[in-house]
Subunit: 328 residues, 2 copies
């Protein structure tokens, strides 16, 4: 456990699963040293392709992700790619650990060391789930995984932030989602590179397809891509090769149009802003401490102090005191 | 439109609805001057009681909130309180404006100027919905509303942040929510001051009550309060007086145990941290500008730069440059 960090990093780079698991726990908990670990590993990344999948609860996401992972593992193209799966549930109230369903999934893949699954749920109250997911993807990438599948429940803002780090984003819909399908779709038109209509053997699959097509005619993507629509029945594995083909097609499009790097740079800009926000917050918390903040909070609660002016003062102070502070 | 700010502030304080609506739009958009407005109004706040209500989609939240608002307006106790309703939907992909259902609701209350409704959906990609909601509550409070009802869809992290600013938090459940009701409940046990079982004329209402009681025996609140459970049928208005009584009972408990100020101070501590984070981020963005950030993002995307070291450098620079910058 206490081996030097460079040995650990070498193990992780060579694909060792236990070294990877330890690193993920460290990053999830933002434990001391996790920043150094990520710095050391970043040069080894950039090889993996990241695919994000999102959809409402019950859309059959996990089953589809499993099928896609198996498909890539079987290697119809004889490439035998290794896969990492990150299952993120921003709506889960659990603060850590895998929930029952994920444990079962993990056991199913246990016989294949080429598939690694990790579940993540809400951490802390200050958001940051998108950032942690991105850091976990960095670790999987550094460990040599060829493909990283990130699945997340829902289609709200949290999920959009989580899938935004993906090279390819897939939105999973199902027939008969009810009345608010229109409002959901309006929001996801902007993020979906590929639509999957899962459970397409159910009534209404064609209607969902027509609705997507209708919305597509209204919303023009700035990259000129028209998202493909793939029909699947994940429980039977049908449509999965077609989905893999659609992913490959989109990736070829990005390459042909020289858009891959541009998309990645856009994603990184958002991530940098998020990382900056977190880092500034950490700095402020270190500087003032919880004791000082709770004293201020009590004064505001008693209406002795206006919070808006207080924040301006604190921000100004935070800018100054780096020079006044004595190094530890 | 261009009248001096002090006239506008006076109008808002006197309860003028148009002045209020303008101020809310300004705060929602973080328009220039919104911070000055909030500073000027903060001393006029602290009078309103804030009640937060959350529950899964379809739990009948809006109907219950409307009934509660009507009940308070009718003034069984002859107090004739004015009510402000803030309806927040963090899952909505709409970036502004009220959605259809809310427009209909607003029209229903149009004849009663004592009820003011405002809908809010996801704004921007940097979160901040909880903070904006808090600022809108400040405006409603300053405008003399006696009661502020904040309703939000769902029971995830976003919703917890939104309801945390409330003096009283009500979680609405319905019978037959399916298998994941346990996982949802585990997360909300910590935030619910009162449970409502709405649609309690449906099968399974008693089972939901038993489940809450069972969970309550496992989770001990640090303030010693045992959340009451109220059964309602919001569409018929039944259970609403009992809910109002439960709210009054909890408020009396907080007062008796001297907990009201403590709870408010705790809420403010979380809010101050959030405000600090936003303010620091704004400062950093002003300092570096989007051009510089997008140059860095491109370098990271090309793997010419490690983002973790970059962020450390930027944070350090942000601390320094206040002194080096020439004032504009």
């Amino acid at each position: 456990m206490n081996q030097p960090i460079h040995i650990w990093i070498d193990q992780l780079r060579s694909g060792d699963t236990r070294a990877l698991a330890r690193a993920i726990s460290m990053v999830e908990n933002r434990a001391p040293g996790s920043s150094e670990l990520l710095k050391a590993l970043f040069p080894s990344t950039g090889h993996a392709r990241i695919i994000g999948l999102t959809g409402a609860p019950g859309a059959g996401k996990s089953t589809l992700v499993d099928q896609l992972a198996r498909f890539y593992r079987r290697g119809a193209d004889n490439e035998n790619r290794t896969v990492g799966i990150v299952a993120v549930d921003p709506t889960s109230p659990y603060t850590g650990g895998a929930i029952l369903g994920d444990r079962i999934r993990m056991q199913e893949h246990f016989s294949d060391p080429g598939i690694y699954i990790r579940s993540m749920a809400t951490r802390g109250s200050l958001g940051g789930l998108a950032r942690t997911t991105a850091d976990v993807a960095t670790l999987l990438d550094a460990s040599g995984r060829d493909l990283i599948l990130i699945e997340t429940v829902g289609v709200g803002q949290d999920e959009i932030e989580i899938v935004r780090l993906a090279d390819v984003t897939i939105v999973i819909l199902v027939p008969g989602m009810g009345d608010d399908v229109q409002s959901i779709k309006a929001g996801i038109m902007e993020i979906a590179d590929i639509f999957v209509i899962n459970k397409s053997d159910h009534d209404g699959a064609d209607r969902v397809e027509r609705e997507i097509r209708a919305l597509q005619s209204l919303v023009l993507r700035h990259d000129g891509w028209t998202p493909s629509i793939v029909k699947t029945v994940a429980t039977e594995g049908s449509g999965v090769p077609e989905l893999a083909a659609a992913i490959a097609e989109y990736e070829a499009y990005l390459k042909r149009e020289n858009l891959a790097l541009k998309k990645s740079a856009q994603n990184w800009q958002e991530r940098l802003v998020e990382m900056l926000r977190d880092a500034m917050l950490e700095k402020v918390r270190r500087q003032f401490g919880d004791g000082e903040l709770s004293r201020y909070a009590a004064e505001v609660a008693e209406h002795k102090r206006d919070p808006y002016t207080l924040i301006e003062e604190l921000v100004e102070e935070a800018g100054k005191s780096d020079k006044e502070q004595i190094p530890p």
